[in-house]
């Protein structure tokens, strides 16, 4: 093989069949694998949610044993976050970052492949733990000791799975950061690159800063469980609450890891369908950075009920409230982008609009929770469950749907079925609100979270929520149908799929060829 040939890998033969996927160093292949993995995990964890909701349809124990219920809750949370949402965003980054930057691929294609293939290993460990004696881990996705110290084999397996997923995230993030910092087409300065790249740049930074901290926290759990250390045991001078501090030092930035890429996707979509440039690009960048920086100093708002000193309580309350300012800037900028645009409402835009509106509801309930005295009433109730599903489902998940509809034509070369897409949208928005809106009332009225059975006065709202969950859950089969149909065929998509779309990804043909930008593009503007 000559060196010249190496510089033009497009002219090589590639392994086919399964080997193509196992050995691939192509960002598009890897992005595709991430997205399929995420979808499988979404359906698995979603099925767990449907089981949870079925048990909660009426008071009393009907379907599952309380311990199994806790296993479902724990795995639902862990798999949704680490298995569905994060890999989906990484899938978007893999597909779009090189295309948007005019780079031929990610900076480290082999490492990229490894980052992906660690995930199925971890997913396997988590899912198989249901089959082990004692069942899966049942201590909540937050893994608080001493409860998490009590369990059996699955708890160790879960900890190691978290390690592996963390490793995958760190390597993936190093790759994305390096790509963004070092692989931009000549002339594409940082302040000119698409918003999606900015949000991922900052997300990757958050990941690199916090994933190792999570690794440290669960390592201490592992040694407390198995090697006789006393990090979280007062008899040895440790403190169970210390785990919570370390966990949430990771955990709070983590929730912005789950939303910043969503902000990025929405910031691509809204200008396209408003046919108007993104309003306040620079302030968007600064807002994103401020959110990231603030996210490191607010963690203890998850712990207002542990009994912190007054000063700490006040500090964390104020700093948390402050995050509403940069987030508000983003919301206002999106509205201003739509203002006096020339709007059309294709499915990606519909999801993006719903995102702005419903995410804000979730943000406001977050702000209510940020008030320490009010949080003391609401901590560990369904109000919190309502809050984070508004930001995670109608936030993160909706942005993923929006992004898929937006870029699928670019990836497959076919237009999706607009009618089915709209049907999916409407059922999802309606279903989503039926599931999660009543949960606010449940929480206010005093229903704790993570319980398999409840007092009689909570019955009606739980029944409504369960009905909504089935509407929402089964609407996702429509989504699956649309995706499969689009891959199989459909109207041919042009290079610039959307009339108002701007950016390098729209200059390459649809579907995007296996190798793009082997020679750096020349920017027209």
């Amino acid at each position: 093989m000559s060196d010249a040939a190496h510089a033009h890998p497009g002219h090589h033969t590639h392994p086919t069949g399964i080997m193509r996927w196992l050995t691939t160093t192509n960002h598009k292949d890897i992005g595709t694998m991430y997205l399929w993995f995420a979808l499988i995990m979404l359906f698995s964890a979603g099925s767990m949610a449907l089981l949870i909701r079925t048990e909660l349809f009426q008071p009393g124990l009907q379907l599952v044993h309380p311990d199994f219920f806790n296993q479902l809750t724990t795995m639902h949370g862990l798999i949704m976050i680490f298995g569905a949402i994060m890999p989906a965003f990484t899938g978007f980054a893999n597909w779009q970052v090189p295309l948007m930057l005019g780079a031929p691929d990610m900076a480290f294609p082999r490492l990229n492949n490894w980052s992906f293939w660690l995930l199925p290993a971890a997913g396997l460990m988590l899912m198989s733990s249901f089959l082990l004696p004692g069942g899966a881990a049942a201590g909540g996705w937050t893994m608080y000791p001493p409860l998490f110290i009590q369990g059996g084999i699955s708890y160790d397996l879960t900890i190691l799975a978290v390690h592996i997923m963390g490793l995958s995230s760190i390597m993936g993030s190093i790759n994305i950061i390096t790509t963004i910092l070092n692989m931009r087409a000549p002339g594409l300065t940082l302040m000119k690159m698409p918003m999606f790249c900015w949000t991922w740049l900052i997300t990757a930074y958050l990941l690199i800063a916090t994933m190792p901290v999570l690794a440290g926290a669960v390592t201490m759990l592992l040694t407390d469980r198995n090697f006789g250390t006393h990090f979280f045991n007062a008899a040895g001078g440790g403190d169970p609450v210390m785990f919570q501090h370390i966990f949430w030092f990771f955990g709070h930035p983590e929730v912005y890891i789950l939303i910043l890429p969503a902000f990025g996707i929405v910031s691509q979509i809204i200008p396209t369908f408003s046919r108007k440039p993104l309003f306040g690009y620079a302030s968007m960048v600064y807002a994103t950075a401020s959110i990231a920086i603030l996210s490191f100093i607010v963690w203890a708002h998850h712990m207002f009920a542990v009994g912190m000193p007054v000063a700490a309580q006040l500090f964390f309350m104020f700093s948390t409230m402050l995050i509403a300012v940069p987030t508000g800037v983003k919301v206002f900028n999106w509205v201003a982008t739509m203002w006096k645009g020339s709007l059309t409402f294709e499915t990606p835009m519909l999801f993006a609009i719903a995102f702005v509106c419903l995410f804000t509801i979730g943000g406001f309930s977050g702000l209510v929770l940020a008030m320490a005295p009010v949080d003391i009433q609401l901590q560990d109730t369904y109000y919190v469950v309502a809050h984070f599903h508004y930001v995670l489902v109608s936030g993160a998940l909706f942005s993923i749907f929006a992004g898929i509809y937006y870029w699928l034509p670019k990836w497959t070369g076919h237009m999706y079925d607009e009618r089915l897409g709209k049907l999916h949208f409407w059922l999802s928005v309606i279903g989503m609100n039926i599931v999660f809106f009543p949960m606010h009332f449940l929480g206010l009225a005093g229903m704790p979270r993570r319980i398999p059975d409840y007092a009689l006065q909570f019955t009606e709202f739980n029944q409504i929520a369960t009905v909504g969950a089935f509407i929402f859950g089964f609407s996702q089969l429509i989504f699956l149908t649309v995706v499969l149909k689009t891959i199989r065929g459909g109207a041919k998509a042009p290079a610039r799929v959307w009339e108002g779309a701007e950016g390098l990804e729209w200059t390459v043909p649809s579907p995007a060829p296996y190798h793009t930008f082997e020679v750096a593009p020349v920017l027209s503007k």
């Binding site: 294609p109 002339g187 800063a209 210390m242």
Partner: protein, 288 residues
């Protein structure tokens, strides 16, 4: 803005190594859990995983070295390596930060809480919050240990590591000026210093376990002591191994004065390990 483009990018071929690495980690995790839960043959599963991991590292790094020697890495790739190594070290810093955070939290907050007010009166009567401590429960059971003092082996180790930082820099100067003798000499000295450090550390651990009653189970002091110094020691081990590889590659004549990022990466890593030790020495050993 990124580097001036040469117009061509370097793209590696499809590779089997990553999937092999995933299999290795899966086996290691499963084997590790089997050992912890006393399931038969866990040791073999773990060993298989480790063996495969080493096989993968040899293969993968070998490929990278061959690509590098064939001159396929242009300036852009070099810059990517620099960025990625910096971010990797940052992630390591954050990993240690978790444990330093635990040390800070217990020393400054939770141990004092255990020894005052209602917590002490109701739950741990008579407990005096001092540092180092094995904690109120273990103290009540009569658990005793001797803390590690700074001015013995730890002080010597500090000297060793600090001078190894100097020798590796000296080696780097040699490399930049094209003095291969100095390069090899400097690397050899660094490797020696690292190895002696590890030997002393092993001796210190042995002493702690057998004679001082200082174990992982010796309350938060023991836990933070061994986890911090242990993870650091592990990093020294990895660093020393990488330095040995650099030494062998230098002897094989791999690096040029302009093109030697692998060497630089290892020396960055070594300096990072050095800096962590300095913190450890002050916070874990010295300020008792």
């Amino acid at each position: 803005m990124s580097l001036a483009q040469t117009g061509k990018y370097y793209l590696p071929q499809p590779s089997l190594w990553p999937i092999i690495g995933s299999a290795a980690l899966l086996l290691m995790a499963v084997g590790g859990v089997m050992i912890l839960r006393e399931i038969h043959n866990g040791g073999w599963v773990l060993l298989a995983g480790v063996a495969i991991l080493f096989f993968m590292m040899f293969g993968w790094f070998g490929e990278v070295i061959r690509d590098s020697e064939a001159g396929r890495y242009n300036k852009q790739v070099d810059a990517s390596f620099r960025w990625s190594m910096s971010w990797f070290i940052f992630s390591e810093v954050m990993f240690f930060a978790a444990f330093f955070g635990a040390l800070f939290y217990t020393r400054v907050l939770s141990v004092p809480w255990l020894g005052e007010g209602d917590t002490m009166q109701q739950l741990w009567p008579g407990f005096k919050a001092t540092w180092p401590t094995a904690g109120p429960g273990l103290a009540a059971e009569g658990y005793q240990f001797t803390p590690m003092v700074a001015w013995g082996i730890p002080a010597i180790n500090t000297l060793l590591l600090l001078s190894s930082g100097v020798t590796v820099t000296w080696a780097h100067w040699g490399l930049k000026k094209g003095r291969r003798g100095q390069l090899i000499m400097g690397l050899a000295m660094t490797v020696t210093l690292g190895s002696v450090f590890l030997g002393l550390q092993a001796y210190e651990y042995h002493h702690a376990y057998t004679e001082m009653g200082l174990t992982l189970g010796a309350g938060v002091y023991g836990a933070t002591f061994f986890m911090l110094t242990g993870f650091h020691g592990f990093h020294v081990l990895v660093g020393t191994t990488m330095l040995i590889v650099m030494l062998l590659r230098s002897i094989a004549g791999h690096f040029t004065a302009e093109h030697h990022f692998a060497f630089e990466a290892v020396s960055w890593y070594w300096h990072f390990v050095d800096a962590v030790w300095a913190l450890l020495f002050i916070l874990v050993y010295w300020l008792l």
